[in-house]
Structures are given as structure tokens and as C-alpha cells.
């Protein structure tokens, strides 16, 4: 029985006759937000395995001390490329894909505001990444100076550096266009009557993320353009010989880089704020404070960047400022975590796969947040800087953080996308296997990091051998268990138990009022929203 059957006025069958165009060209020329969302999500999944394979090269080399498998230059190219692929090729496209699929349906809009731009935003990406990855096969090799591209090291790269910069520019253009589209959709396309404070949390977090992207990606584009002209056109922005300063690059880079890490996590906060209420069968606790906390995090992210640079030699006043402003971020983040816990409090909870991933997110993201607080302490950071402790920290917030939120959202919304339920038993196994291995992989990195093992180096001192071997076991376990994820998705796309319109008993919001699978065109006639309509 479909929930939508009882809401016939929400959509009119007459408009749904024209479906997608047949053939492969459908995917090239499509302007449909659902098609483009699907393209983004598949692209992200493929890149997840490319970036994951690079991570396994790194962990295989670090299985034992000594240089065994790859030469150090290639190892460094792997650490650099792994980061670029995972950030720009996996997490960001996955969030944009989810935004494409869900935001119009959550707002009661027929499509994104600028559908042709949307097509461009996606199709730039495969070309940009082809160029980026092709540098690995060029004579001078892929970028090997770390994803932060610090000069003077990055300026010593061969001519393939130009391709890296070119690809970054295109990825940036894609992100900015996608963000402009999302902002225009949210401001102009809400169903009549829907107030901003009626918007679902995922829409709110994406609105704020889109502003972060529009404000910071161009700064990064400027920084890499300066690198490009320093390397090829004799300018001296960062070259001390010509009066430039390499430390200045770090300031410009992290002015982008710190908001970027919130770009990678704010949409995750939105997703979790949908899943936990659904499976607790309660409304989200403290909706208003969630919105304000998200906005506060976004604002604070612009004034903390130099905490990445405590070892460059800053005056005491600046160290204190950046230390305290960084610690201040834990206040709005704490508000969010407590709100999620309060939502679960006395809820009628069930533990389907999306909920397991969401709870895993809350616990393990908080572990990453705690090590982040430790890193914020300036005198301690001078010890932790550039060690595996930092690697453990940001992998805890990004893998069981951002990546878990994406997996949770796939399990949560895939019945809406395909009309079929996924295999619940396999989903739960996927969660538990992933969670065990992800901790085997990243938790020992705290120990070797505190003991002083530096990051981005293919060899290490004998004392770190045991924990590194354990981390590598975790890496291969985690990596290969993701094949289950692919299997579950494909199985669900091909068939399975039919999903209802509402899918989940506790699901609330406009996207659950339409059929499953969602028709190719939805909300061609706007639903009328009153203050009583359940939109979140």
C-alpha cells in the first residue's frame, strides 16, 4: 500500500507520461535532477574505489618497515592523490548528488533552479579527474608534495603540475556552479508557503555549505593560480628569491582549507538529523538550535585557519587567538551531538542499517572531534604536528564521519530512489564488518602518532612496526568489505521487496509523500504549504 495513494492531489499522473529519453544519450544530455543526482552518486562510488586502491597501496607499503613495494616518489604521489580523490572526487560529489536528488523533493520543487548548469556541473568532473589521474602516467609523475600543494616543494614538480592545477580549476568551477544552483533552488523554488525555518535540516546544512563553497573555492583557485604563475611564468608570490614568501601560501590555502573541512561535514550533519528522528520516531530535538549551530560553525570556520600552522612560528597572541577560536567550535558541535542524543532519548528506537550508520557516525565522529580538541592546544600541537595522530584525527571525522553519513543516506533513501528495499541482513553485516575494521585501521594510528611517527613517509622506525601491521590489516578488511556495499546497491537496483511511499514508519517530510520509486517528474504542481504541513 502506497502512502502516496492517499495524497493524489500531491502529484497528477497526466504530467508523468514523458519519462527519460531512451539510450545512453539520456545520461549525457539530461537536465533532470534525479538523473544528475544518480550520475554524481555513481561517479562518487567509482572514485571511492580508485581512492581506496591508492590507500591500499599506502598501507601495503607500510605493512613493514623498509621500502618494499613502491618507490618513495610514487608513495608520495599516492598519499597526495588519495587525498585529492577522496575529498574532491568522493565526498563532495556524493553530497552534491544527494542534494540533487533530495533538495527539490524536500522543498516540493519540480527540479533544480538551473537544470542546464546542473548538467555542466556534473559533466566537467569526469574530464577533470581524467586529467588529474593521467598525471600519474606522465614522465614527471603525479603530484607528490601532499594535497595541500605547499611551495616550495610543489614548485619542484615537473611539467605535469600544470595538469594538476588545470584539473583543480575545473573541479572548483564545477563545485561553484553546483553551489550557485543549490542556493538559487533553495531561495526561489520552495513550495508556496514554505518558510525558511520549515526547511528540512539537510536543506539547511546544504544552503550553508553552498555559501562556504562559493566563498572559499575561489580563494583556493587564486592560490593555485599563483602557484601556476610561480612555476611557469616567473612570478614570485611564494618564491623567496623574488621577494615572495612560502608561508603566505599556507595562510591563503588554509583560509580555503579550513572552511573546506566543514564543507565535507555539514551536509553529513544534515543527513544524520533526518535519520536519527526517523528511527527514534520522534521529531528532531532542538531544530532551531541545530540551524543556528550550523551557521555558527560556518562562521567560525573562517577565523581558525592558522591552527594548521602552529609550527610555522607565530606570535603568542596569534597562537592564543587561533587556539581559543578553534576550541570554540566544539560548542556548536556539542550542541548538535547533544541534540541527536536527546532526539534518541525515550524514542521508540529501531536499528535498521541507516540508523546503525547514523549512531556509528555520532560516536566515531565524536572520537575524531575529541582528538581535534587535543590538536587545537598549541603547545601539544607542536608535538602532534605532521604525525599519524593528525592522520588518525582527520580520518575519524572523514571515514566513520563523512563517509558513514553518505552510506547511511544511501541505505536511507535508496528505497525512494529504486522503489525496492535493500537487503537488510546484508546491510547490517556491512555495517558491523566496516565498523570493526575501520577502528582496527585508524585507532592504532593514535598510538604511533603520539609516539612520533611522521606522516607522508614510506618508511618508519622499527618501534612502530606492530601497530602499522595492525592498521594495514584493518585497511584491507575495510577496503574489501566495501565490495559488499556495491553488491547491496546493485541487488537493490535490480529488485527486492517493494517499498511503500513513506518507506520508514517514522519518516516525515514531503519527499516521503510521493511514490517509491520517485516518478521521473515530481511536484510539477506545487504543494501548498501551511504552518501545519509536515515538512521536516
Amino acid at each position: 500500500m502506497s502512502y502516496a495513494d492517499t495524497n493524489e492531489d500531491v502529484h497528477h499522473g497526466d504530467h508523468d507520461h514523458h519519462g527519460p529519453a531512451p539510450g545512453l544519450m539520456r545520461w549525457v544530455t539530461t537536465t533532470n535532477h534525479k538523473d544528475i543526482g544518480t550520475l554524481y552518486l555513481w561517479f562518487s562510488l567509482i572514485m571511492f574505489f580508485i581512492g581506496g586502491a591508492m590507500a591500499l597501496v599506502i598501507r601495503a607499503e607500510l605493512w613493514m618497515p623498509g621500502i618494499q613495494i613502491v618507490d618513495p616518489m610514487f608513495f608520495n604521489a599516492m598519499t597526495t592523490m588519495h587525498a585529492i580523490v577522496m575529498i574532491f572526487g568522493v565526498v563532495m560529489p556524493a553530497f552534491v548528488g544527494l542534494a540533487n536528488w533530495m533538495i527539490p523533493m524536500m522543498l516540493g520543487a519540480p527540479d533544480m533552479a538551473l537544470p542546464r548548469l546542473n548538467n555542466w556541473s556534473f559533466w566537467i568532473m569526469p574530464f577533470a579527474f581524467t586529467i588529474m589521474l593521467s598525471t600519474l602516467f606522465m614522465d614527471s609523475g603525479g603530484p607528490a608534495g601532499g594535497w595541500t600543494l605547499y611551495p616550495p616543494l610543489s614548485l619542484q614538480m615537473g611539467d605535469s603540475f600544470a595538469f594538476v592545477i588545470f584539473a583543480i580549476h575545473f573541479l572548483g568551477i564545477s563545485s561553484v556552479m553546483g553551489s550557485i544552483n543549490i542556493v538559487a533552488t533553495i531561495f526561489n523554488m520552495r513550495a508556496p508557503g514554505m518558510k525558511l525555518m520549515q526547511m528540512p535540516m539537510f536543506v539547511w546544512t546544504w544552503l550553508i555549505t553552498a555559501f562556504l563553497l562559493i566563498a572559499t573555492i575561489p580563494v583556493f583557485a587564486g592560490a593555485v593560480t599563483m602557484l601556476l604563475t610561480d612555476r611557469f611564468f616567473e612570478t614570485s608570490f611564494f618564491s623567496a628569491a623574488g621577494g615572495g614568501d612560502p608561508v603566505m601560501y599556507q595562510h591563503i590555502f588554509w583560509f580555503f582549507g579550513h572552511p573546506e573541512v566543514y564543507i565535507l561535514i555539514l551536509p553529513a550533519f544534515g543527513i544524520i538529523s533526518h535519520i536519527i528522528p526517523t528511527f527514534s520516531r520522534k521529531q528532531l530535538f532542538g531544530y532551531d538550535s541545530m540551524v543556528y549551530a550550523t551557521a555558527s560553525i560556518a562562521f567560525l570556520s573562517f577565523i581558525v585557519w592558522a591552527h594548521h600552522m602552529f609550527t610555522t612560528g607565530m606570535p603568542l597572541a596569534a597562537e592564543l587567538f587561533f587556539m581559543f577560536s578553534t576550541m570554540m567550535i566544539s560548542v556548536p558541535t556539542g550542541v548538535k551531538v547533544f541534540n541527536w542524543v536527546a532526539t534518541m532519548w525515550r524514542g521508540s528506537m529501531t536499528f535498521e542499517t541507516p540508523m546503525l550508520f547514523a549512531i556509528g557516525f555520532v560516536i566515531m565522529f565524536t572520537i575524531g572531534g575529541l582528538s581535534g580538541l587535543m590538536l587545537a592546544i598549541t603547545p601539544a600541537d607542536i608535538q602532534y604536528h605532521d604525525t599519524y595522530f593528525v592522520v588518525a584525527h582527520f580520518h575519524y571525522v572523514l571515514v566513520p564521519g563523512a563517509i558513514y553519513s553518505i552510506m547511511a543516506s544511501v541505505y536511507f533513501w535508496i528505497p525512494k530512489w529504486t522503489g525496492n528495499m535493500y537487503d537488510e541482513k546484508l546491510g547490517k553485516i556491512h555495517f558491523w564488518v566496516s565498523t570493526i575494521f575501520v577502528n582496527v585501521l585508524f585507532f592504532p594510528m593514535h598510538f604511533v602518532g603520539l609516539a612520533g611517527m611522521p606522516r607522508r613517509i614510506p618508511d618508519y622506525s622499527l618501534q612502530f612496526a606492530d601497530w602499522n601491521m595492525i592498521a594495514s590489516i584493518g585497511a584491507f578488511g575495510f577496503g574489501f568489505s566495501q565490495l559488499m556495499f556495491v553488491y547491496i546497491i546493485i541487488k537493490c537496483v535490480r529488485g527486492g521487496e517493494k517499498a511503500t511511499g513513506q518507506v520508514w514508519e517514522g519518516a516525515r517530510g514531503l519527499e516521503w509523500t510521493i511514490d517509491s520509486p520517485a516518478p521521473y517528474h515530481t511536484f510539477e504542481d506545487s504543494p501548498i504549504i501551511t504552518s501545519d504541513t509536515v515538512t521536516r
Partner: protein, 198 residues
């Protein structure tokens, strides 16, 4: 907040235009950070950037005869350059407020006309803005004929307001090859000038 009305392409264009303007503005801001950074470093003395004062200002400074500061000179040659580069004196004892002169020796070890540029840095960085120079070879690019050498002068004065806990200042110079284009441009200008004068 106003309720949304049926969207028109004009409304989309307005929002998209504003966002695009923000993006372009932020691209410009990235470049604006370059001069901003220099100004902040100069004002605060961060980054070991030393100050520059005029001869008149230096002469007007009040000397502090009871205080002595050890000034150490070090040199580094950037990896790309073939130079001999060293201070003529390793250490000096200086009284704040008094003007002192010393020099660095540099020799071009190549058979080409080469332009070098020295970049200074002072430690401790808290002392940087109290270490002022009236004349320094680091202010300008230095042109060397093939295998030429010279002593390059440095005249400095320590501000009497130097924090009392600083009794030792290290001045470090790194000597770089200037970017090729400048070298070839200035050397070709010089050869043109020589031809004209002959």
C-alpha cells in the same frame, strides 16, 4: 522571511548573479591577501622581517650606553645558486641606538653574469621590528659579472626599545639566484648601456 512565489528565470538570474559576484569577489580577495600579508608582517615584525629607517632617523636615536647586545651573522646559499656567500664578521657587540657597519662577501662562481638577491630573517622574531637598517644589500638585487666578487655593505641600528630579555640577535641571510628573466633582462640592459657609452 518572505514566502517564495512562483519562480521565474529572472529571479534565478538575480540569485545566480549575486552568487557569481561573490565567487569572483573572493577570487580577488585571494590575491588581495598578498599585499595584506606583507603589510601585516611589516607592521608586526612577524616572519623575521626587519625594519628600514633613514639615516636621519638613525642619527636621532638615543644611545643606551649601559646595554650590550650580541649580534650574530649567518649565511645560507639557496640550493639553486652557485655562490660563495659569507659574513665578513661572525659576531659584533652592539649598543642599542648606535649605528654600526659590517658587510657580507659574495662571489659569483659561474661564468655567466648573474643576479643575486639576499633575503633577511631575524631571530628571535620578537626582536625583528627593533632591528633596523639604513643601508642593506638586501634592499636591491645585486648584479655580478662572471666570477666577480664584492663586499656588500650593511648598516644597522638596534632600536633602544628592544625588549630587555633579548641579549642576542641572529641575523640570517639567504642568497638566491634571482629568477632568470630578471637576470637576463638586467644583464642585457647593462650590455646595451655599455655599448652606448662606448
Amino acid at each position: 522571511m518572505s514566502d517564495p512565489r512562483p519562480a521565474t528565470s529572472k529571479m534565478h538570474a538575480i540569485v545566480a548573479g549575486k552568487m557569481l559576484a561573490l565567487a569572483i569577489g573572493m577570487f580577488g580577495f585571494g590575491y588581495a591577501m598578498v599585499p595584506l600579508y606583507d603589510i601585516i608582517c611589516e607592521v608586526t615584525g612577524l616572519n623575521g622581517k626587519t625594519g628600514r629607517v633613514s639615516v636621519a632617523e638613525a642619527a636621532a636615536a638615543k644611545m643606551d650606553p649601559d646595554r650590550e647586545v650580541i649580534v650574530e651573522f649567518t649565511s645560507t646559499i639557496n640550493a639553486s645558486g652557485a655562490w660563495e656567500f659569507r659574513p665578513t664578521e661572525r659576531t659584533m657587540i652592539a649598543k642599542p641606538g648606535q649605528t654600526y657597519q659590517t658587510s657580507y662577501y659574495a662571489e659569483n662562481l659561474t661564468n655567466r653574469t648573474t643576479v643575486g638577491q639576499a633575503s633577511p630573517s631575524v631571530t628571535p622574531s620578537a626582536a625583528a621590528k627593533y632591528f633596523n637598517k639604513t643601508e642593506c644589500f638586501c634592499f636591491t638585487q645585486q648584479l655580478f659579472e662572471p666570477n666577480a666578487s664584492k663586499d656588500m655593505p650593511l648598516i644597522f641600528i638596534i632600536d633602544p626599545d628592544l625588549p630587555l630579555n633579548v641579549d642576542r640577535i641572529t641575523l640570517s641571510y639567504t642568497f638566491f639566484n634571482s629568477p632568470d628573466s630578471t637576470a637576463s633582462l638586467s644583464s642585457s640592459l647593462i650590455s646595451i648601456a655599455q655599448e652606448i657609452s662606448q
